[in-house]
Amino acid sequence: MTIRIWEGKADGTRSGPMGSGGCASRPGVTRRSFLRGATGALGGMAALVAALRPLKDLPQDALPSLDQFLQKHYKEMSASDMDRALARIRADVEDRFGVTPNLRDVRPMEGVQFAYALNLSRCIGCRRCVHACVGENNQSRSPEIQYIRVLEMPRGTIDLDQGNHHYERARVPDAEHYYLPVQCHQCANPPCTKVCPVEATWKEPDGIVVVDYDWCIGCRYCEAACPYWARRFNFAEPQIPRDKLNPDMSYLSNRPRPRGVMEKCHFCLHRTREGRMPACLEACPVGARKFGNVLDPESEVSQILKTKRVFVLKEEVGTLPRFFYYFDERYPRAIEAEPTGPGAPEIGLPGSASGAGA
């Protein structure tokens, strides 16, 4: 626009009658060229303002504070750096939820490699694990983020494409299906960490693949790389009811996440690195979930790996999961229909015993 004004001036000097009607002090600038340039400039400014307009809707805490902006990568933080970061997160949680969290940075235990095993003969697909996980790990309730997907699979196949995790039934298990819960497999050879352009996700010494939510740039490469669809992205600001926040949290696991970062199952590391069980295991009503230290030969997971028939999902892709599925030797009990009819109420009669006895 400025160029045009100067052009106008050049023109104006040549064509006298048009120039004479212009500003008295600047004979080169005519009224028309001035208005033309000014309108254009104003329009350009307005367009710029419009383009920057989304900034107006940013909430106060959306822009990082100086501390947050200068915060280092998790692995490069000194103890005092971590203390500062924890204090900042603690204040943020207090501000948003009105509770003081028991926030800490839980480090891996020596001589421990975690493994998880899940008994497919037992799982009934009741989704207790899914919702226990959501409650424990402060996942967003809306939009919904869940780490565990329970696939309802037709019996006789492990083709995951035939699985369905939207099943709605009055009662589970269904006689024609079995149930395959899938969550992060904490691979020993994780594709997700390799594709991260900023190394915001990595494998810890105890085998848990973690995410530094303050370092993640939200590119979602890891989500695409994961063959198990185990990573979740916060498309919107996570919504957690104030009274539903779990205040027992750690830096790498279940502290509240901002919008635009990835998250995933971390074997409840704030619990398991302190000796406790993962929340999904504690919620399982049929004891299908097993967790422990695979370096301990007497641990439950070691015994399962030794004595049970075990498989991993998508073994052929070479991810070496530490999440194992296993069976009991006998076929799971046939699921009987709801006890109705004349036989059911007469409990205890010698003749009423069903043939499916132990």
Partner: protein, 243 residues
């Protein structure tokens, strides 16, 4: 000479510029005040009973001596059975304990597990008496493989800690999950299914490949050479699996 046409162009351009400026202004005003801000539509959070998630044993284990809740008072078995020597040969005609649902296969006689004389004890097949908390030994008489699995930790549920030397480590016993009179788990209602962002609750069949209008028929995946022989088999297996 060559300035005259340029002059005319500039005049035409200036008319356009008069339009462009207000147009930008109007657009900016529309952006700032009137344009709807794109919001991600969120489905309602499903409501469900959080009490359905129980990180505890399903059932309480019996103490030694066992306490039984009768009329909201705790009684010992012998409080009654000192006086009432009930017939135990058959399970018919129960007058008391009618609330017990009995569905344990062929194991349908009280005296298979309960001692006839000492009602606060359980009896093994060799006649020896054990206390109620020692029930896994009794169960092991029939469910040997499951008992060994339980001993190894490959069956059952462990709460508290995964560290075996941790004082909180506790492996639940048989009767903390299974009702000994009706040990099979009854089917239960599942908790709500996931909601997909933007779309809310999904039809159960939406993600089925067969149900999708964009689905590629399964046969197209088969290799051309093998198509003639092999197509029938996986297709048939699939139908069988779904049926």
């Amino acid at each position: 000479m060559d300035h005259t046409p340029k002059r005319a162009d500039a005049t035409g351009g200036s008319r356009l510029a008069w339009l462009i400026g207000p147009a930008f202004l109007g657009l900016a005003a529309w952006f700032v005040w009137m344009a709807p801000w794109p919001r991600i539509p969120l489905g309602a959070t499903p409501a469900f009973d959080v009490g359905a998630i129980v990180p505890r044993p399903r059932l309480a284990v019996m103490t030694d001596p066992p306490q039984i809740d009768v009329g909201s008072y705790e009684h010992r078995c012998d409080d009654c059975h000192r006086l009432f020597k009930s017939s135990t040969e058959k399970t018919t005609g129960r007058v008391q304990h009618t609330e017990i649902v009995f569905n344990h296969g062929m194991n349908n006689r009280c005296s298979n597990c309960h001692d006839k004389e000492h009602r606060e004890k359980l009896v093994l097949r060799d006649g020896s008496l054990i206390s109620f908390p020692g029930a896994p030994l009794l169960c092991a008489q029939c469910h040997g493989t499951t008992f060994h699995d339980w001993e190894r930790g490959t069956h059952g549920k462990t709460l508290g800690s995964w560290e075996r030397d941790n004082p909180a480590f506790r492996r639940l016993t048989c009767v903390e999950c299974h009702d000994p009179h009706s040990p099979a788990f009854a089917p239960i209602a599942p908790l709500p299914a996931p909601h997909t962002l933007r779309m809310g609750p999904q039809q159960a069949e939406v993600e089925r490949r067969e149900a999708s209008p964009l689905a590629i028929p399964f046969e197209h995946h088969a290799e051309p050479g093998a198509a003639q022989d092999e197509v029938g088999t996986p297709g048939g297996a699939r139908e069988g699996g779904e049926g």
